[in-house]
């Protein structure tokens, strides 16, 4: 019994974080949103070189044979540093050992494929393209998409949950930093209980979301349980982060907005919270719980 990341996993997360920061992932995301995908594709290649897309592909197929815990570690960083591109599809749903960009619409979950303008569509016919509230995501309607096997979808849901965890942590960290320096009525707004208690609730929610994400990676709970809880926690982080920033947080120019919109998009992507609550209920009513 050892419910913590190994030194190797912590080191992997640090290396990915350093790589994304040195590549200025936030500027890359803004360029991507305005249609300039070149810097994003360059960063994609560097992350793929670190093995992100091949992480959970089996070794006999040229992958790294990593665990779902490794996958969650990587996606938490991608969420924290605002990665752009179809990572969930290319690293979790259908891991790409050569680092290619792929995307898919999954029947029963979404009729849209994300980032089809830069990625190979795994099945179906692309139709009209729509903008997302997350300006770094472009959604393409897909007709005739084939179904995916449930293990692949579960990996994608887990990756989405881990990305939300990272995004929620980032919003909390940035909000804490902001309320320590912003002064009103002669003192830091972070010294007021009205602010403290809201941010404390975010800390609590994220602290209990994390073990569900890694517990789901170990198969201790259904991935849907993690998606439900981490969606709520990240969304609380986003709502609270916006509130404690005030009007500046409501602007497109301020970087916080990138994470707020990412969280809003991922809360319903890969199955809404209600959809996943339904899946948990099915799990509970079909399992003998009390010996």
């Amino acid at each position: 019994m050892k419910f913590e990341l190994t030194d190797e996993q912590v080191g992997f997360a640090s290396a990915l974080t350093a790589l994304m920061r040195s590549g200025d992932s936030v500027a890359v995301a803004r360029a991507w949103a305005s249609g300039d995908t070149a810097p994003g594709l360059a960063l994609w290649s560097r992350l793929a070189d670190q093995g992100v897309t091949a992480l959970v592909a089996p070794e006999d197929e040229g992958g790294l044979g990593g665990t779902l815990v490794d996958l969650a570690v990587a996606f938490e960083v991608l969420g924290h540093e605002l990665a752009v591109g179809p990572w969930i599809e290319s690293a979790a749903l259908a891991p790409q050992v050569e680092g290619q960009l792929v995307t898919a619409a999954v029947p029963g979950i979404s009729r849209y494929a994300a980032d089809a303008q830069v990625a190979r569509l795994l099945s179906g016919t692309p139709g009209a393209t729509h903008a997302s509230i997350d300006t770094t995501r472009t959604l393409t309607l897909v007709e005739g998409a084939a179904g995916c096997d449930s293990a692949a979808v579960d990996r994608a849901v887990l990756a989405c949950a881990a990305e939300l965890l990272g995004a929620g942590e980032r919003v909390l960290a940035d909000s804490v930093a902001y309320v320590k320096q912003r002064k009103q009525f002669g003192r830091e707004i972070g010294s007021y209980q009205a602010i403290k208690h809201q941010l404390a609730d975010v800390r609590i929610a994220l602290d209990f979301a994390r073990p569900l994400v890694f517990g789901a990676a170990l198969g201790e709970v259904p991935v849907s349980a993690a998606k439900v809880y981490v969606s709520d926690a990240a969304y609380l982080a986003a709502r609270t982060g916006l509130q404690v920033h005030g009007a500046i947080g409501y602007t497109a120019e301020f970087d916080l907005s990138l994470w707020l919109n990412r969280i809003r998009a991922l809360v319903t992507a890969w199955g809404t919270p209600a959809y996943h609550r339904g899946r948990v209920l099915t799990h509970l009513t079909s399992t003998a719980l009390v010996d």
Partner: protein, 389 residues
């Protein structure tokens, strides 16, 4: 990263489960806050103690099994899964005993721990006063030095003392230096509740039962042998239990996992009558699983030599709110039957309502999280605010 148990841990789990299956009373005991229920709960403690199950993590010479932290969590999981009686000796075992182990003299350890383990002596905590609740350090009850008799004379009033109505001994803080303020000049005392000068007045709780009491001290003599830690060092000594009460010890995940599993069973029985409660059932189950997994993370950290620290506050807010939400959903599933007195769901709900208040209110916990974990600036005190103006 793994949650696998060792063969020894699995064997311990099987042993505990078998014993509980054979020994847990078929019918729930009457409330421990009634005279009849109190006696039956004390008998149950004796039965546990005879098999060294009352204090599994304690040293063998004072009644324990020297169980590891992992084994303790396993024991608690099995205990609640089996629907075993509430622990009438809980306050002594979880709040006082850790302090006696850390700060007590060998004589005190030998005198107090074995009878606590067997449930022969039940302990009540005496922290709060009428004017000292969240601001505990403002307490006013006094201890005056009596050199001639070799001890101290206690005066004042304590309140909200859980189990004090029937308990045998109490523990609490008194101001032993009259010129001191706040955290300085406090001393930690142990006292028999039938001592001369002590009056215990039961207070009926929300459900009408006398689960707590006021304690009045009128020139109560306590000998030096019953001072815990050094005189004047009481705050530091006492705070070493605050982390225990808020943190891992008081609320094991087994309690919430068992309750969530019972909620799922209730859903299977009554869900068709109240389908609108479905999301509450799911969220309560997910919350209990989050708490279980979070606890394994805490156990890993503590086993590696880490400390609970302010993280205990995160734990406390979470479990106390989970407990209420879980029981509210149970009551929703009962429909019109929910308001009936003396059902397990209503009893559990009323008990859960006290969670966000005791052991430091959740507002105090959120202050601790914000200041000590997030690093936000401390709120100026009333005096500092006046000075600013």
């Amino acid at each position: 990263m793994n949650l696998d148990l060792t063969p020894d841990e699995l064997a311990f789990q099987a042993e505990v489960r078998a014993w509980l299956t054979a020994n847990v009373p078929a019918e729930p005991l009457p409330s421990m806050d009634t005279a009849e229920g109190w006696a039956l709960h004390q008998e149950w403690e004796a039965k546990l103690a005879a098999e060294r199950y009352s204090v599994v993590s304690w040293p063998r010479e004072v009644g324990g099994r020297e169980a590891s932290l992992v084994e303790w969590v396993i024991f608690e999981e099995e205990y609640y899964r089996a629907g075993a009686p509430g622990r009438v000796s809980q306050n002594g075992i979880f709040l006082l005993a850790p302090i006696i182990f850390d700060h007590g003299t060998p004589e005190q350890q030998a005198r107090f721990l074995p009878s606590m383990a067997t449930g022969e002596k039940i302990w009540a905590q005496a922290w709060s006063e009428p004017e000292a609740g969240s601001d505990l350090a403002s307490l006013r009850s006094t201890a005056t030095r009596d050199e001639a008799r070799g001890g101290w004379v206690l005066n004042g009033q304590k309140t909200w003392s859980s189990r004090a109505t029937y308990a045998h001994w109490g523990f609490g803080l008194f101001r032993s230096d009259p010129d001191s303020a706040k955290h300085a000049g406090l001393t930690y005392f142990l006292f028999p509740l039938d001592a001369d000068g002590i009056t215990v007045r039961p207070i009926a709780q929300l459900d009408g039962e006398a689960g707590f009491a006021e304690i009045f001290f009128d020139d109560v003599f306590v000998g030096d042998a019953d001072v815990l830690g050094a005189p004047g060092d009481g705050w530091r000594v006492a705070m070493s239990t605050a982390g225990n009460e808020r943190g891992l010890s008081l609320r094991s995940p087994g309690r919430f996992c068992a309750a969530a599993d019972r909620l799922v069973e209730l859903w299977k029985e009554r869900g068709s009558e109240h389908p609108e409660a479905w999301a509450g059932v799911v969220d309560a189950w997910i919350g209990a699983q989050a708490y279980r997994l979070f606890t394994w993370g805490t156990v890993t950290r503590l086993a590696d030599g880490g400390e609970m620290g302010a993280a205990g506050s995160i734990n406390k807010v979470f479990w106390s709110e989970l407990d209420i939400a879980l029981h509210e959903t149970g009551l929703d599933l009962l429909g019109a039957d929910a308001e009936l007195l003396d059902t397990p769901w209503m009893d559990g709900y009323v008990f859960a309502l006290s969670g966000p208040i005791y052991a430091g209110t959740n507002e105090i916990q959120r202050n601790i999280i914000a200041e000590r974990i997030l690093g936000l600036p401390r709120e100026p005190t009333g005096a500092q605010k006046v000075a600013q103006k």
